[in-house]
């Protein structure tokens, strides 16, 4: 189609160019055009938070944003959390150690949302604050408790 537009975004430290229709969502752009399928879509209309990614360090719903809106900006997705050799990052390790995931579908969004939270509350804050921070991400499996424990453990653990 002729009305495609060029987007240029930094994802997990590397710049990517794409040619997209203006209506292409950021989640589809990440998943289908960049093959970063760690970003998951569960409702496509902004209510479940499973598609959260970090845009310049802040969580956004990637199903509600168009790829063109991210032009020139910097994104972090779940693929950016582990070391290049695959070694789990601190939060990921804490989720592993504390059974913070079951089916794993909400996990990328949970990790990124927790990441943003721990930037603001490096000491972990209270359980209530953790629960509030992740309340926009729906998990159908865990009942959240082990996720809260994972985030608390990540805050307590050394980097």
């Amino acid at each position: 189609m002729s009305d495609k537009r060029v987007v240029r975004v930094e994802v997990n430290g590397a710049w990517h160019d794409g040619l997209v229709e203006p209506r292409r969502t950021l989640s589809d752009f990440l998943r289908d055009d960049l093959d970063l399928t760690g970003t998951h879509v569960a409702c496509e209309n902004g209510f479940c938070g499973n598609c959260n990614v970090l845009l310049d360090g802040e969580t956004v719903r990637s199903c509600l944003m168009f790829a063109v809106q991210a032009d020139g900006r910097s994104l972090t997705t779940v693929e950016g959390l582990a070391e290049p050799d695959g070694t789990l990052g601190r939060l990921q390790q804490a989720f592993h150690d504390n059974h913070g995931l079951q089916c794993g579908f909400c996990t990328p969004a949970m990790l990124l949302t927790a990441h943003e939270y721990l930037e603001a509350y490096p000491d972990g804050g209270t359980d209530e604050q953790i629960r509030e921070a992740i309340s926009g991400v729906i998990c159908r499996c865990t009942g959240y408790q082990h996720i809260v424990e994972s985030i608390r453990a990540a805050a307590g653990g050394a980097a």
């Binding site: 229709e21 569960a42 209309n45 592993h96 089916c103 794993g104 991400v137 159908r140 009942g143």
Partner: protein
């Protein structure tokens, strides 16, 4: 006491894996899950992450009406849209496919796409296959359908009346099934009992609602005629010929490839609509076609809405609180199709008396068809509903007698010495110590403290309530529950096996193949790794797990009814036993000791008591594969074993169905206690304490079991407080997105303490019982009890779910409900 003949192979496995003197090395430990790392890195490979070369995408057009004749469909505009490959309607289905499988009786026919009329809102009317999903959805909007609306059938009670419009004309009624089962002397017991309580109860329609919807990719190979379907569900590998039948292909030409699922909770249990559909679309265009439900379609048109039941239920008891008899009558609104038959009520009958010594039971069911989406499985599979009914009646009885709710339950518990215990329906409870679980939960929660606390709070005008409920957790179905409803059933399966293949490669690595869908949030890879570690004393993280596709699969039933851990552990133990025999023979040759002096330790085999006389598995495996002449003469090369593990303990129902036989015998037990405070101005609840104690037999991994208990409990809270699929007067779904269908969030969920007791099953491998559903079996009952208790000044009786905040405010401030 010998209750029935146990399956001989399962008996051998149970014998060999029963507790040994040495403590278990790997079972029972809270090891980190081996599944986790790939999911934590975003490399889960869910269905929608998979791309095949040349793959096309499908979207569907759902019916805007609940009940209407399809007069005409004009697809020309859709077909003209660039990027559209094909528009598909019921005409294509009528020409090229057969109806979808159904386990219900009678002429209740369902097609992949509605052919002559639509029977519920959201039912598929047409599909578009296009280059991408955007175009497919655009094209769906261009399809023009002319409908003639028909009278809508929504109320299952009215649907039973003469003159009601019919959902399926060929059936000539909307009552698809009706029967009363009687066990014992129910009328006499009710007459003789001092008292009884009766309640009309309503359990609302909700659904498992996994974050990952149902999806499949069909990939038709014109050359071979094989239809490969990648799907995020594969249950019952021995029933997949039904899907082949719908596609009109020979069963051997169907190849289902199981893909990881982001949750199921019932909604992917023997999921066939979506895979069959994707396979069909691919056959039409000769290319791979992906179809993944969007959320709206999942809510309005999925395989499995949960139970939607109206009950009239009574419990008879004596003045001393002893329960005598139970009478339950249920009208179940099944929606437009009866895909899974009445198995969810069979399930309920497996533990209909709960943990109590009730001898006489009557159970009536009317399964009614209406213009709603079909009903099927949701965590608990109908037993969660029956437990809510039973515990409601018990609370009412306690109130009637002015007896403490713990005490009335304690008086009726089946005593620890009476297992295996035969319940009135014929199903048995294998083992248990219910008094132990009760004592533990009371202690864990410091029950007396909270009773005092409640009294003080009440004196201050606060609304604090305590809920205390018990539940059984039946596990491992044998499949008779799907057909014992009929005196003369047409098809009577009695088998629901699970299989495992264990291979030790030439360099000593262990690779295990599982034979059904497995990973959908449970921990199958961790379970089998821990079992193999237990058997061979290897590092569980070193075990490699893969999944067979259906063409290569041995019989596998998959997760469901809390069966998978029990069954796969049995299959892995069985295969391990065969391998260990072979390894022992080779090692006894090599080490020149008797086989009896050998033990599996440190990743190999060693002579008992002699630390340095030891061979690694790799040493033995290399011999087994490469050095045939070093092997005992009758021994073939290689080191692999397959085991198909059958249901360990099941019997047939009798002819008149006064005894349903043993069909769900590995029965766990649990108690939950919740203390809540209700704000009567806003209807909001605060959890002051929530404790759970479960006995699921031998525990494989305590932390993942905690995860199941907590996750299931929070799901049950959703059922109790928020969730209901709402149909309006025209049968349209009013809450077809997460905006209006509220799932519990982290702010709604309590912090739960989980305790365990372990009473092994005498019949299963290692004594494991299933435990995936317990949380949801208790939470609705406990919330009902706790809210009722908190609002006791207002004389509230909870008789329907969900209990909304508005309802609470109305109870506390508005006119009294009764």
């Amino acid at each position: 006491m010998s209750i029935a003949e146990q399956d001989p192979n399962a008996a051998k496995v149970a014998r060999e894996t029963a507790g040994t003197e040495t403590p278990r090395r790997w079972l029972g430990k809270s090891l980190n899950r081996v599944e986790d790392p790939r999911f934590l890195r975003g490399q889960g490979r869910y269905l929608d992450d998979i791309k095949l070369p040349g793959m096309l995408h499908a979207a569907v057009l759902g019916s805007p009406h609940a009940h209407a004749k399809i007069i005409s469909i004009d697809t020309s505009k859709a077909e003209a849209l660039p990027g559209v490959v094909r528009v598909v309607t019921g005409k294509d289905v009528a020409e090229h496919a057969a109806p979808l499988p159904s386990f219900g009786a009678g002429p209740i026919v369902q097609d992949m796409i509605a052919i002559e009329k639509v029977r519920h809102y959201g039912e598929t009317v047409a599909a578009v296959i296009a280059e991408n999903r955007y175009i497919a959805e655009d094209a769906c909007d261009l399809i023009e359908v002319v409908y003639e609306q028909l009278p809508v059938v929504l109320d299952p009670v009215a649907a039973r009346e003469e003159g009601s419009a019919l959902v399926h004309e060929a059936l000539e009624t909307n009552t698809a099934y009706e029967r009363t089962f009687s066990f014992g002397e129910v009328d006499r017991a009710f007459e003789d009992a001092d008292r009884s309580v009766t309640a009309n109860l309503y359990w609302p329609r909700s659904t498992g609602m996994p974050m990952d919807t149902n999806g499949a990719i069909g990939d038709y190979d014109r050359g071979t005629g094989v239809v490969t379907i990648h799907a995020n569900s594969m249950n019952f590998t021995y029933f997949l010929w039904l899907i082949a039948g719908s596609l009109k292909i020979p069963a051997g030409k169907l190849r289902l490839v199981p893909v990881v699922a982001g949750g199921s909770f019932g909604s992917k249990f023997f999921m066939h609509k979506v895979p069959t559909f994707a396979g069909f679309l691919s056959m039409l265009v000769g290319k791979p076609v992906k179809y993944v439900e969007d959320r709206r379609t999942h809510i309005t048109n999925n395989d499995h809405h949960g139970s939607d039941r109206r009950y009239d239920a009574s419990l008879a008891f004596d003045d001393d609180g002893e329960f005598k008899a139970l009478r339950i009558s249920c009208i179940d609104d099944y929606g437009a199709y009866l895909q899974f038959g009445t198995g969810t009520h069979g399930n309920a009958l497996s533990q209909i008396v709960g943990p109590y010594r009730i001898q006489h039971v009557e159970y009536s069911l009317a399964a009614v068809l209406t213009n709603k989406n079909q009903q099927g499985a949701y965590r608990g599979f109908g037993a969660e509903v029956s437990n809510w009914i039973l515990e409601r009646l018990v609370d009412l009885a306690a109130r009637d007698l002015d007896l403490d709710r713990v005490e009335i339950r304690r008086r009726n518990l089946i005593p620890a010495g009476s297992f295996p215990y035969r319940t009135p329906t014929g199903n048995i409870y294998d083992s248990g110590n219910y008094q132990g679980v009760l004592a533990k939960v009371l202690e864990d929660v410091d029950y007396d403290h909270w009773v005092e606390y409640r009294a003080k709070a009440r004196a201050e005008g606060r609304h604090v309530g305590i809920g205390v409920v018990a539940s059984q957790e039946r596990s491992v179905f044998s499949s008779t529950e799907f057909w014992f409803w009929f005196d003369d059933p047409q098809f009577t399966p009695t088998s629901s096996p699970e299989s495992a293949s264990v291979r030790i490669g030439p360099t000593g690595e262990i690779v295990v193949t599982l034979h059904s869908q497995s990973m959908w949030g449970n921990s199958p890879e961790t379970v089998v790794s821990q079992v193999l570690a237990e058997e061979f004393d290897v590092d569980p993280a070193s075990v490699v797990v893969n999944y067979a596709d259906s063409q290569n699969a041995l019989p596998g039933t998959g997760p469901g009814g809390s069966r998978y851990t029990v069954m796969v552990a049995g299959a892995v133990a069985g295969a391990s036993s065969e391998l260990k025999d072979k390894i022992r023979r080779i090692a006894s040759d090599k080490l020149e000791v008797a086989e009896a002096d050998l033990e599996f330790r440190d990743g190999g085999v060693g002579v008992v008591g002699v630390p340095d006389r030891h061979l690694m598995l790799a040493d033995i495996a290399m011999t087994a594969y490469m050095f045939r002449l070093d092997l005992p003469p009758d021994m073939p090369s290689g080191l692999a074993a397959h085991c198909t593990y059958d249901h360990p303990l099941t019997t047939l129902p009798n002819a008149d169905r006064s005894d349903l036989g043993i069909f769900y015998p590995f029965v766990g037990h649990a108690w939950h206690i919740a203390v809540i405070e209700v704000d009567i101005e806003t209807g909001k609840l605060e959890f002051l304490r929530y404790a759970a104690v479960h006995d699921a037999g031998t525990i494989v991994n305590p932390r993942t079991l905690d995860g199941q208990v907590i996750g299931g409990t929070v799901q049950g809270l959703g059922t109790a407080l928020y969730e209901e699929i709402l149909y309006d007067d025209l049968g349209r779904v009013r809450n077809e997105s997460f905006e209006h269908y509220h799932l519990p969030s982290s702010m709604d969920a309590p912090s739960i303490t989980v305790g365990h007791q372990e009473t092994p099953s005498p019949y299963t491998a290692y004594g494991i019982k299933g435990a995936g559903e317990g949380g949801r079996m208790l939470a609705p009952a406990i919330m009902s009890a706790a809210i009722e208790d908190a609002l006791s000044p207002y004389g509230v009786t909870v008789t329907s779910l969900p209990i909304s905040a508005e309802q609470i405010v109305e109870w506390a401030t508005g006119p009294r409900s009764d």
